[in-house]
Subunit: 406 residues, 2 copies
Amino acid sequence: MNKALTYLKLDQESITAVRGIKAAGVHCGLKKSSRDLALFYSESPAAAAGVFTQNLVQAAPVLLDRERINNPIRAVVVNSGNANACTGEKGMEDARQMADLAAAQLHLPPEQILVCSTGVIGMPLPMDKIAAGIASAAQSLSGERQAGLDAAAAILTTDTVTKTVVYRGDLPSGSFTLAGTAKGAGMICPNMATMLAFIFTDAAISRPLLNSLFREAVDCTFNAITIDGDTSTNDTALILANGAASVEITEGTPECDLFARLLHQVCQELAVMIVSDGEGVTKVITLEVTGAPDAAAARTLARTVLNSPLVKTAFYGEDANWGRILAALGYAGVPFDPSRVDIAIGPVRVACRGGAIPFDEAEAKAVLQQREIKVTVNLNAGTATATAWGTDLSHDYVSINSSYRS
Amino acid sequence: MNKALTYLKLDQESITAVRGIKAAGVHCGLKKSSRDLALFYSESPAAAAGVFTQNLVQAAPVLLDRERINNPIRAVVVNSGNANACTGEKGMEDARQMADLAAAQLHLPPEQILVCSTGVIGMPLPMDKIAAGIASAAQSLSGERQAGLDAAAAILTTDTVTKTVVYRGDLPSGSFTLAGTAKGAGMICPNMATMLAFIFTDAAISRPLLNSLFREAVDCTFNAITIDGDTSTNDTALILANGAASVEITEGTPECDLFARLLHQVCQELAVMIVSDGEGVTKVITLEVTGAPDAAAARTLARTVLNSPLVKTAFYGEDANWGRILAALGYAGVPFDPSRVDIAIGPVRVACRGGAIPFDEAEAKAVLQQREIKVTVNLNAGTATATAWGTDLSHDYVSINSSYRS
């Protein structure tokens, strides 16, 4: 009776495909030549949710956004090239002033504006450049596709490509769009990385439901990727839902399931793009832990393996070194029985019940020579599973991250 | 009235300087050409204590030694080149047989013999070679200096130098010797590293006191070093006290203080040797966390910083990148106030109260160009301190650890 719930990936679109969302990305001189200031604008107040870094050391914009995330939100102003982190009271003033400047340009109350920064740590923001950038971005705001791509470029640091994912959900009551853009967990010379993600939707959804669905999605996607295990002072993922489409998402409905599924999909695709564009990355590892007693244990085990330098260098060397995987599982701090563990690299079983089994080295090598490698660890101790994504550890990673700040 | 308690470092000696301790190191074919089987022998039963890997995946010899560590111990048989890990029931049988073979050669009960292995994971021990090696080692047992050096060589894997430290304590009642040898936490091609340490003393000391002092010493030394944060299936530190010197150590005496101090010193010097000889290491970092609310917090913070790939690559690049140090502190899982943290690299203060301060880049660079670098983090939140030792992360580390197993 109901029309089927369907969805479509819109490969050619940018985040401005979301109704009521405008964007701009300009150059204001924080980076040498590329765009370094982005503005995201919603034509109507949006419900917002945010997931922020767990690091004790939190940059000023993170502290500001935590205060404001429960407000109806109209705009997000983002700069790259300077993280405004470890900048003390002056940093808080500067973050507030960024919002104030955007508020003045957009004729909005400052408390409806969020702020993100990414880049060098410990340096004060050059506020004159920021002010000029915000004025210029406010003037360039547009709902055109290119404006979304400009904003996607302006948030980047050492990323080599922009990262945008757009999906449309089609419901009997109409269609909604979910779109996101992110920047990577590589590092900005000279300091640590920041992962920033901005998701937009024109579906109408209550703030509590949006918050709950976003946390679930982030936990299985952005929080399940690792490049080097270091977390940043600035990591932020935000979602804005402005209700500009005539579609309402309520809990426990098939529409809500579709929304949650597309939200997960957008976050996962952005997360894997971040991993794939990590510094010096030559391999993207998808690690699935199955047969676990619970999902939390599975997740901890998966992330610990993907953070092991010994595992990561083995993948760089295209080495089917299951002993390192087993040993990394062993220090994850999660109880399990090593003598029940099976490990497969692609389709090739390389360890069985915690011990060696004969396998075709050439077949394993062929899998390991691919850029994308699936590894499966079966604990044979339950039914829970978790997937995490990681990278190898290459010579280039060391080169990029050991280069001097100047 | 009492003669002062003094001590002396014996640079030219090996572990056979300890009275009643004999040693041998032979080649039996587990490694291509170098010595690969060591035997340590005490002429009288020794009180023993051991600290073993916390990894859930524990090699067969670790499981065997845990059963036997409370027995009076007469000998330790060690092979390099094969870890006897992830080898199942057969591995346990092989570990027991190693002890049985040594017992037969030395005319001792098998339960007075400990076993250690280090090397490749997941491969069965070639017991014919092991048997020949044990027979040959038993025949070569000697109290000569060279025999101790041969044993020190036979436990190595990818280490580039033997590691031996010998101290003599002089008490009014006589003198005692404390000597140790260790192998490094680098990796053996193709699998993970093992840290093995063997400490010997001719002092007479009860097993409970020895155990307590050894755990304290190990926790502040071998457990405070990190090369890549990966722990092995085989890590083992053993101490044997045979009482062959006419010196008795009892709790709460000045003699006990001297013994504890020398034990700490032997362990610390071996630990720093291990770090310095780590794979691809170009810098040895001594990180002191001061002003902490308690020692456990200080230790966790110090180890987290030294495990951060971003911190390690910055040291490789000789970059005074205090932002990475502060961010690593922030994700250690220990509460502290970032806005009170001071950081110094050598004598150069690079961050104050959680923020940037102007410093002489040339002066910092001069410190960072040294091989040994002292970093101080003051939390300004208490009086507890902890020291940990770590390394940089170099191109060579990646090269060594990505090389294919074959």
